[in-house]
């Protein structure tokens, strides 16, 4: 039996979206698939949460969106990172690293 997929850790979805979009503009499904692929199927993104997160991030000024033609000539909503989105990503990455190392230290001492 393969490892079970898990839901994205609470509070990290925003960071994962920002990280994914820092490479190139993408549409919703693309982002979801990229997160699943890169995490090697550990994370499974709930579409409802994903779309809600887009709206939230866009209103916070971190994402821009525009309707574009895809390669198979369908209209899709593409999201891209704004400048303040980049800054936010840096901030969240730093914060995350700090937490992770703190948790790691704790686990080491406990072990």
């Amino acid at each position: 039996m393969p490892d079970p997929t898990t839901d994205v850790i609470q509070g990290t979805l925003d960071m994962l979206i920002l990280k994914t979009l820092s490479l190139e503009p993408m549409h919703g499904f693309g982002i979801a698939r990229r997160i699943e692929q890169i995490s090697r199927g550990v994370f499974k993104v709930n579409p409802g949460s994903l779309l809600t997160a887009f709206q939230r991030l866009e209103r916070a000024g971190w994402l821009d969106s525009e309707w574009r033609q895809t390669n198979n000539s369908r209209r899709a909503k593409f999201y891209s990172l704004t400048r303040s989105g980049h800054k936010q990503l840096e901030l969240e990455t730093y914060d995350w690293a700090r937490r992770i190392s703190a948790v790691a230290r704790l686990l080491r001492t406990e072990g």
Partner: protein
């Protein structure tokens, strides 16, 4: 930036919801297609791929709803839906809605009206720049009371003190303006040069007073108020430099104050002229410059506190210097009183206003309790509805929100109507306001008052809505849906009873206050004024102009005036006096008795310079000796009457008749004759019925050192006193048409006005107490009536089992009276505690006056019995057959 994005995106959605919805649907659809394609590429059949994609995405509608719900704009449609629903609910129950809105409107409106008075008087600072730096300064009088300062005290302080940047003294001035159609007596002030500078104001047109204007025999100049300028000179800007006639003298107008200038020190003053007192002659003490008759106001230097100024004044007061010699009556031995202007202006009315605020808060509380009760009763009727909603999946928060929307809508409507109530309230307040109420012109509904009403309405909506909403949203769907659940009285009955009890308690507190004030007024008007006030008409006659420079002309004018007035049909008798009892004026002079050791008068008394026959006409009783008569004229030896109280104090156990005294300007002057006491008359209330200071000396007009230019005419008439006023006025004008006649009033009017402050408080408390009583009665009625409706079946069963209508009546009545009795017991404790606050406003009764308390309790029980009677008799009429068959 992001806030702007939040708002703009939200607005975009609101403006074009279809487009936003289409966008979202398309995005979701695209997601689904991509997902399906991905599954296809993994080798699933088209059908399986679609199924898998759908499974992953979940319910498309749910996803859409989830995304939509995350924006703030989605609260609006639900809010509108709630409002629509609430409106329908209220519309469907017009009786409930009307009663609730009216109750709230009364409570909020009354509170708002009182706030509109409290805000400018107690809360706002006075309408001057840095108003907190303006101080009032006064000397100490007898028993630590406040005394106006003398001119030379003011001069010494302004020379020696360093705490103030400007100081000024002022006194009232009532010049008569002639030259136009009718003689016009104006209210004004004589002020020292820096008066406006102290207040931080300056004329809008023309110039301010200059120190060189304020010298003895200086130029005759005036500054006008904006209202006088507009009224008499139609706002003509060329008025500056022109001359007007005041008291037969030409005065040059040098300026006009701005429209916004509010003169709290003399609200009715319309023109100002320099004081022009003599600064040099400080040695002679019999001058007006050494008389205590000037009010003093000063502006602190920036950074100097009132305490520091007090300290400096104490030092100055206790270290006289030889440049400023002081007579014994202005020795400053006790120091000086320094108060902020704000305190000075508001100190007298503060207790009454705070008492009114407390009372209106109680009324608002009672109104809130009543509305809470009504809402509880309604939610009891709506249990089924709530249960259905809960059963259909409405969350508790969602139901709370909807119920609060309903009460907020009610309170907003109530608040809107409250503005109408407040507008009437404010008009009534201003109309009833006693003369001592400062800043009456600033009492109106402005932005601050409006904001207050709005906030009060919102808070009230939340407060009254919360308990019923919590009750209702707790409904257990299964029990709520059962038919039979209506048979048992719910737990909220307890809440409702507690609310009624508190309502009764609050009403009792208010009723006791109103009762105490009412009894005080009764007592007050029971006090004999010392004369017969019925059928008395009074008016003030002024002799102005240079033709009266010679005293004999004044005597002739007074004689002729009396003669023509006596010929007016309906007039029985008439006399002039310089001081009219209960007019609010005082006129006190020092009294020196023959044989007193000290050269300075140790005594003081009211001076009445009267025409012979005054005491007989007023009905002041003669106790000993004789009255003044026609023989006590210039040339004869000076005869005076003294009041009983003065006789008792000065001549205990001795014969006062034949003793001699001198008064005011004649004190210690060998060239002036002693006055012989020829009679003792009864005491008269001069200041008000409540003040028993009545030491008085009566002397004839011709014997006094001068003839006062302002005389009060007192006329005893047959029939209605007010009706004769025009005829009497015309009679006087037939002697001299240029003499202004003002303050025409019957003695009954003056009596009523002398108690104006108490009456003002009484009217407010009576109105509030009445409102409280009605609301409390409505509350009792509501609870009992609701309880009878809920217990109809139980009552039916009881009567089927043999209970008589009478016993059921008694049962329900007992329930209501018990509630009232508990409320009365709690309220009594509160009333006793609260009565301390109005002790100062009472007269002649204790704040624990048993009669008042018993009367109020009796009234409250009586009213509650009536309120209980209606539901009780309905219960007694319940027909067991109908009730039981209805099941």
């Amino acid at each position: 930036m992001s806030l702007w994005r939040q708002i703009s995106r939200g607005l975009r959605v609101l403006i074009n919801r279809t487009a936003a919805d289409n966008d979202l649907s398309e995005e979701v659809q695209h997601y689904l297609e991509q997902s399906t394609a991905a599954h296809l590429s993994r080798g699933l059949s088209p059908g399986e791929a679609r199924r898998a994609a759908r499974l992953e995405l979940g319910n498309v509608t749910t996803v859409r709803e989830q995304v939509r719900a995350s924006g703030w704009e989605n609260l609006l449609p639900t809010l509108f839906a709630d409002l629509r629903f609430a409106t329908r609910q209220l519309h469907a129950n017009p009786g409930f809605t009307a009663v609730t809105i009216l109750t709230l409107a009364l409570g909020i409106g009354a509170t708002t009206a009182i706030f509109s008075a409290i805000n400018p008087i107690l809360l706002q600072s006075l309408p001057y720049p840095d108003a907190d730096r303006i101080m009032m300064i006064s000397d100490f009088g007898i028993n630590g009371s406040r005394l106006d300062v003398t001119f030379h005290t003011y001069r010494e302080l302004s020379e020696r003190s360093r705490s103030f940047q400007a100081m000024a003294v002022m006194k009232p001035w009532q010049p008569t303006m002639t030259g136009a159609d009718q003689p016009d007596r104006l209210d004004g002030q004589r002020v020292s040069a820096e008066y406006f500078h102290v207040l931080g104001e300056s004329p809008a047109v023309g110039r301010d007073f200059d120190p060189s204007d304020d010298l003895l025999n200086g130029p005759r100049i005036v500054i006008l108020s904006d209202t006088l300028w507009k009224r008499r000179f139609s706002g003509d800007r060329t008025i500056v430099g022109r001359q007007i006639t005041l008291d037969d003298n030409l005065y040059t107008v040098i300026g006009v104050m701005p429209r916004t200038f509010e003169n709290v020190l003399a609200p009715s003053a319309e023109l100002w002229s320099p004081l022009q007192y003599d600064t040099r002659n400080i040695i002679s003490v019999q001058t007006r410059e050494w008389g205590h008759h000037l009010r003093m106001v000063a502006r602190l230097r920036p950074g100097v506190t009132g305490e520091q100024a007090k300290g400096e004044f104490a030092t100055i007061a206790h270290s006289p210097v030889k440049e400023f010699p002081r007579p014994p009556w202005a020795s400053l031995k006790q120091g000086l009183i320094v108060n902020s202007l704000q305190h000075d202006v508001t100190a007298d009315v503060r207790p009454a206003l705070l008492a009114a605020l407390a009372a209106v808060t109680l009324v608002l509380l009672i109104a809130c309790v009543n509305v809470t009760n009504l809402l509880l009763a309604r939610s009891a009727q709506r249990r089924g509805e709530f249960a259905v909603r809960a059963a259909l999946g409405a969350g508790r928060m969602r139901m709370l929100r909807q119920l609060l929307t309903e009460t907020l809508l009610l309170s907003t409507l109530g608040g809107a109507l409250a503005m109408v109530v407040a507008e009437f309230g404010v008009r009534a307040l201003v109309a009833l306001s006693p003369p001592g109420l400062p800043r009456v012109g600033a009492i109106r509904i402005d932005g601050a008052v409006f904001a207050f009403a709005f906030i009060t309405a919102t808070l009230v909506g939340l407060v009254v809505g919360l308990i019923p909403a919590l009750h209702a949203s707790r409904t257990d769907p299964s029990s709520g849906l059962q038919q039979g659940s209506r048979r048992t009285a719910g737990g909220h009955q307890w809440t409702r009873r507690a609310l009624v009890v508190s309502e009764v308690a609050l009403a009792l507190v208010l009723l006791v206050r109103a009762g105490l004030l009412l009894r005080s007024i009764e007592r007050l008007f029971g006090v004999p004024p010392g004369f017969d006030p019925s059928h008395l008409l009074t008016m003030e006659v002024q002799e102005t102009g240079h033709r009266f420079d010679d005293d004999s002309v004044r005597y002739r004018f007074l004689d002729q005036a009396l003669e023509v007035v006596l010929q007016v049909p309906g007039v029985k008798s008439a006399a002039f006096t310089t001081l009219l009892p209960l007019s609010g004026d005082t006129d006190v002079y020092g009294v020196e008795f023959e044989g007193d050791n000290n050269s300075i008068a140790a005594d003081a008394a009211f001076r009445y310079a009267v025409t012979p026959g005054y005491c007989e006409e007023m009905g002041i009783p003669l106790r000993r000796g004789r009255m003044l008569d026609q023989h006590d004229m210039a040339g004869a030896s000076v005869a005076v009457l003294i009041s009983e109280s003065l006789a008792k104090r000065r001549f205990p156990g001795r014969e006062p008749i034949g003793q001699r005294l001198r008064m005011g300007p004649d004190i210690d002057r060998a060239d002036r004759p002693w006055y012989t006491i020829v009679g003792v008359v009864g005491d008269v209330k001069q200041m008000s019925l409540a003040v028993s200071e009545s030491d008085a000396v009566y002397i004839t007009t011709t014997h006094w050192a001068w003839v006062d230019s302002v005389q009060s005419l007192v006329v005893r008439v047959r029939g209605d006193a007010a009706a004769l006023a025009p005829a009497i006025r015309n009679a006087i004008w037939s002697v001299d048409k240029d003499q202004p006649i003002v303050r025409v009033a019957t003695m009954d009017d003056l009596l009523a006005a002398s108690a104006a402050e108490r009456r003002f408080a009484l009217v407010i408390f009576e109105a509030f107490a009445l409102a409280a009583l009605v609301l409390a009665a409505a509350g009792i009625y509501g609870v009992l009536s609701g309880s009878v409706t809920e217990r109809t079946r139980e009552i039916g069963v009881r009567s089927a089992l043999g209970a008589t209508p009478a016993s059921i009546l008694v049962m329900v009545l007992r329930q209501g009276i018990t509630l009232t009795a508990v409320g009365v017991a709690i309220g009594l404790a509160g009333a006793v505690a609260a009565s301390q606050a109005i002790a100062a406003m009472l007269f002649g009764i204790s704040r624990l006056d048993p009669l008042t308390y018993l009367g109020v309790i009796g009234m409250l029980l009586g009213v509650s019995a009536i309120a209980c009677w209606i539901p009780a008799s309905r219960a007694a009429r319940v027909d067991p057959a109908t009730t039981l068959r209805a099941e």
